[in-house]
Amino acid sequence: MGNTVASKAPAGSGEPRKLVKAALLSFPMVLLTGLMTTQGRLPSAAPALIAWAISFAFLNVLFFLMVYTGKTHRFRAVLFVVTAVCFVITFMSNLLAARGSLALTRDNVINGETPFCHLVIPMTLLPAVLKRTVIFPGAMLTGFAAIATMLVIWLGASLALGRGWCSWVCFFGGLDEGFSCIRKKPVIKNIDPRWTYMPHAVLLGAALTSTFTLSPTYCQWLCPFKAVTEFEKVDSFRTVLATIIFVSLFAGLVVVLPVLTRRRIQCGLFCPFASFQSFFNKLNIFDIRIDRDKCTDCNHCVNTCPTFSIDKPSVARGSALLSCTKCGHCVDACPKKAVSFHIKGTRAGLATNTARLLFLYPAYIFAAAIGGGMINGALLLALSSFRNLI
């Protein structure tokens, strides 16, 4: 089963057989993304049709390239970053359409008009168990990003991908990843491994404080992405302070430190959801393994992992840490092809590309389901604005 398009024929050789194989393997994704993005009916208006065609082609070209070249990370990263940028654009436009303003007012909170975000899920669990209440001021079933909708998507993706969510589905992570790719070489190289415990600490602190205040304290005080999504109306000393904190955290954790370290600092060293999501890697059947027979201990994987999910002891053990986001960076970077996607219960180093393909299908379906709509929405906005201009 280990015979693959990529491993049998090197990338770029242009053999017709390889192309046909890649096309055949990509065809199910063409059908699925077609169904997901059109919901069975092509858009009739010209701008909508153009936007759909571009996003559909973009999604499928990337998947085809993943299959054809055997490389995962570089194409995933493109989709991930584009999705995050388009998310910010569409989110803001949706908020403007739904509420008339980006600023969150007290009335919006009381009326449950706050879009639900997956980052808050772990903080809502303890209050839900202890007080039987959902502490997030959003709508349960109706409106944009309703709580139930987001929970269903999250649960499905978590079971299918584990912490793969953080590199394939999360619409915030691409911002972090985008900035981490800007420099060719890191300025800061040595990061104390103790900082990798920080997401667990933020999760513990945020979960406990959320429980006693019965409010999502992480969203209220610590979320860096508030700086680029919605923000509380700045009308008091508290909201001024909160806004300064959001902007500072975004600048530090999502922009400056990722640029300087070439790592996803927010995702790897701060995000409480990342800590929570790591436990789903236990339930998930896919993981990353290191074939000790091929490994030369060059530590290339350790140095490239964007979320600090491989360290020297884990290389020696032959597997990535529980925090692995299955982004494929280490798999692509290994010069000896010792690192690979793996299905639990099978022998490491066997059928590696089959395992990779079996992971890619569900991962890409979720990535396309989330990203497709956002890319389409952002393109449509751009096209409509352009048409209005001329």
Partner: protein, 216 residues
């Protein structure tokens, strides 16, 4: 008295939730055995009880003397929150550099606390006892109906007993501390909670000062 006990039993889970952000990081960070954790819990609860009793007296006097002045009330709470955050930060940084940081910590905290770290749970408990969590406010309302200060204090003592039952499982967290990483998590979580209390303190102080300034 029974009313206080019942109120405590009914609201104990919220009390645990309120005090857990302070207590849990400490228990995790210390990484002691379960038996020792019970001692820490005992100290913490004793501190909390002292806070309750003191607060019942202070609240009674405050109510009389300051006539529910909300802005000043916020100023006091703001200072308490900032003190609590300072203690948590001190706890987080004092252990790794215990020897060399001893001199500096003495200038931050009273000498008695710096030289006897075992007193810290007592102080943390005392400071959480001074905070106005929702069940505490309920107890305050109940105690306010009492005829004398002694009755009011007894109400608080029984309220404390009712809520304390829910703290009994807390020391079992010691069973998890054999995982070395959890100590680091506990220490870092202490920082996170400290940052949160610091925010609250700054907001309350700042808001209180703005209100005082705006009030003619």
């Amino acid at each position: 008295m029974i009313q206080g006990l019942l109120l405590g039993l009914a609201n104990g889970t919220v009390c645990v939730a309120y005090c857990a952000p302070v207590l849990m990081p400490y228990l995790l960070g210390e990484g002691r055995r379960i038996r020792n954790n019970f001692l820490v819990l005992g100290e913490f609860l004793l501190g909390r009880l002292s806070g309750y009793i003191l607060f019942s007296i202070v609240a009674w006097l405050t109510h009389r003397l300051l006539l529910e002045n909300l802005s000043r009330h916020e100023l006091v709470l703001g200072v308490v929150y900032m003190l609590l955050s300072g203690l948590l930060v001190h706890y987080g940084i004092s252990k790794p550099a215990k020897e060399c940081a001893a001199g500096r910590s003495a200038s931050i905290l009273p000498r008695a606390i710096s030289q006897n770290p075992a007193v810290l749970p007592l102080v943390l408990g005392f400071l959480t006892g001074l905070n106005l969590c929702p069940p505490f406010l309920l107890a305050f309302t109940g105690a306010a109906g009492s005829l004398s200060l002694a009755q009011s204090a007894l109400f608080f003592v029984f309220f404390f007993l009712g809520t304390s039952i829910y703290f009994i499982p807390a020391p079992l967290i010691g069973a998890f501390t054999r995982f070395g990483g959890l100590r680091t998590v506990g220490k870092l979580a202490g920082f996170v909670v400290a940052v949160y209390y610091f925010y609250l303190g700054v907001v309350m102080l700042g808001g209180g000062i703005v209100t005082l300034w705006a009030t003619p």
